[in-house]
């Protein structure tokens, strides 16, 4: 989109102002010269997360109400106090002490972070939750919805003022299991792109169906000269070779190599 929307506002980090395609990817460059990237969350998961939080909040208020009916007028006072705290500071509490995730956000693996991707600070958290009221105007979070829809990174008014983002907490990257085939030396003259394609096919051996892999592998039949089952086995072998696995000797040290290759 427009480069000015990605202009840096923080002294410690600068956002890359490069033209980016229309995407939910948010990137910043750290002082160490590393690009960090996260996926920002759109209105729909955020509304759902809000609904979950609303449910919890209502539930707490109802339980509190029932428990405090025995305390008479003082109970009503405490209930009002409780409802005040829940209304304004429920999200602040969880954002500060639960890694930027209210229970609703946790359910949809969302989290609030500062726009330099550091954990949200007190000031920012209180700010964005006080401005909830402005986002609510004129009714039912209309202003917030419009602001989010018009924003490059789905920020509501409170997010703009506090300099925060709602992002997806990424799942931990799990090591991929490589297919158990002996590594095979690749044919000469493989370009980088070809190598990457083969490696990627090898890594996705468990994600793709056997038939589909075979179909893909047979495209290369003129080069590899293999068909059917053998064509996948050959490509997987090349993939493992490209990743660095070698057979130690011709006489079956294969088991050892395999373990080494996969256990990383």
């Amino acid at each position: 989109m427009h480069p000015s929307t990605a202009r840096s506002t923080d002294s410690s980090t600068s956002r890359s102002a490069a033209e980016t395609p229309l995407d939910t990817l948010y990137q910043i460059e750290t002082p160490e010269g590393i690009d960090l990237s996260v996926q920002v969350a759109g209105p729909v998961p955020r509304i759902l997360a809000y609904a979950v939080d609303l449910l919890y909040r209502t539930l707490i208020l109802v339980i509190l109400g029932i428990a405090l009916t025995f305390a008479g007028k003082a109970g009503v006072g405490f209930w009002l106090l409780g409802s005040f705290i829940l209304e304004w500071f429920y999200p602040v509490f969880f954002e500060m002490f639960r890694g930027g995730q209210t229970p609703g956000k946790r359910a949809f693996s969302l989290a609030v972070v500062n726009d330099n991707l550091t954990p949200i600070s007190w000031g920012a958290s209180i700010m964005r939750n006080l401005l909830r009221f402005a986002d609510f105007l004129p009714f039912g979070y209309c202003a917030g919805m419009i602001s989010m829809s018009a924003s490059r990174y789905f920020q509501r008014l409170g997010d703009y003022a506090a300099g925060t983002l709602v992002v997806y907490r990424q799942e931990e990257a799990k090591p991929v299991a490589l297919p158990q085939v002996p590594p095979a030396p690749p044919p000469k003259g493989l370009k980088l792109q070809d190598q990457q394609a083969i490696i990627s096919l090898t890594e996705r051996s468990t994600a793709l169906s056997k038939e589909r892999q075979q179909e893909l592998a047979e495209i290369l039949e003129p080069i590899t000269g293999h068909r059917g089952e053998a064509s996948i086995r050959y490509l997987h072998g090349v993939g493992r070779w490209l990743l660095g696995t070698r057979q130690k000797s011709a006489t079956g040290a294969a088991a050892d190599t395999r373990d080494k290759g996969v256990a990383q």
Partner: protein, 337 residues
């Protein structure tokens, strides 16, 4: 270097970083080094983080597989969050904020405070005088039932102010004042982001309403009960509403006139300054709710004492805002930031 050799060489470091970040109670990653090496005292996170960044850059440059790059990216992100974690607030900073930071912040933004003050007081004065001279004007802003209700609450013929109250209903009213008054202050602030219009609306609206009540009750001769009631907590409550309005106007002003920076940056800057005022406002409103529930409504304290104490509160609040933290101005700016 092939990817697997790369992974093999550096994975002990990655495991150590993961161990360190997870903390020992959650440690599920198999230890690849002797555990003595992993003690937090010896582990230098910034150094490890720099190495990790370099390895991520290498992995990207050499176009290793997406799994590895993703994993390193996540590890770098986790480190980044730890290394650049914001300092938590300590007690001294809070004390310093109350003694110097808040009044200094108010004086720094004096023009917004005065503007908010005018927006609140001018309608209050007009409406107050109007209702004092004209017995019909109050019905322009309130229904007859509301007027009767308010008059009944402060009728000197009543032996008690408002309702007959025990300590439990004091608590009830405390809860009510907290929820209602602080809610109003927060809304006054938050709606300032609509180019200041929301704050202006809330300030004027509250000014009109308050002025009308003052004028009406003075005209019908209930001043003897009403003034002692409001003077005590009013010192904190009315000023706090004005300050919340000023904070809201700051947000609005940053959007209307951002100066040489983008509106987004101006808003964030104004937001940081406005938050300083809002913290203080919140404290003042808690004090106000406490006074309103437990002091102002008290029937055992005589009217003269209430007026005297109320006047003292006003003096206290005004001199606090005007005088506190003067002379240490440059210091406090650094500390509060």
């Amino acid at each position: 270097m092939k990817q697997q050799d790369f992974e093999e060489r550096y994975s002990p470091l990655w495991a150590r970083i993961e161990n360190y970040l997870a903390g020992y109670e959650k440690n599920t990653i198999p230890q690849t080094q002797s555990s003595a090496d992993d003690s937090p005292q010896q582990f230098d996170l910034p150094a490890a983080y720099r190495d990790l960044c370099q390895q991520l850059a290498m992995a990207k440059e050499r176009q290793y597989t997406s799994y590895l790059v993703t994993r390193l990216n996540q590890l770098v992100m986790a480190c980044h969050q730890r290394v650049y974690q914001q300092q938590s607030v300590n007690k001294n900073r809070w004390l310093d904020f109350i003694i110097r930071g808040f009044p200094c912040a108010l004086r720094e933004q004096a023009r917004f405070v005065w503007l908010a003050c005018g927006l609140f007081l001018a309608p209050a004065l007009v409406m107050g005088l109007g209702c004092y001279w004209n017995d019909a004007l109050i019905y322009a802003v309130m229904s007859p039932e509301q007027v009767l209700q308010i008059e009944a609450m402060y009728d000197p013929a009543n032996r008690v102010l408002g309702r007959e109250r025990g300590s439990d209903s004091d608590l009830l009213m405390f809860g009510y004042y907290i929820k209602n008054n602080i809610g109003i202050a927060f809304r006054t602030f938050a709606s300032g982001i609509v180019f200041g219009l929301g704050s202006i609306f809330f300030l004027v609206f509250n000014g009109v309403f308050l002025g009308a009540v003052f004028g009406q009750l003075t005209r019908v001769g209930f001043a003897v009960t009403f003034y002692p009631f409001v003077i005590g907590h009013g010192a904190f409550e009315l000023t706090a509403i004005v300050f919340a309005g000023a904070a809201g106007l700051m947000l609005g002003h940053s959007l209307v006139n951002p100066g040489n920076i983008s509106r987004r940056a101006a808003l964030q800057q104004a937001g940081r300054n406005a938050m300083k005022i809002m913290y203080g406002t919140f404290l003042m409103l808690v004090i106000a709710a406490f006074l309103e529930a437990f002091w102002s409504s008290s029937t055992t304290v005589s009217m003269e004492v209430k007026l005297a104490v109320g006047a003292l509160f006003w003096l206290l609040v005004i001199s606090y805002c005007v005088l506190a933290g003067r002379g240490t101005h440059t210091d406090s700016r650094e500390v509060v930031r």
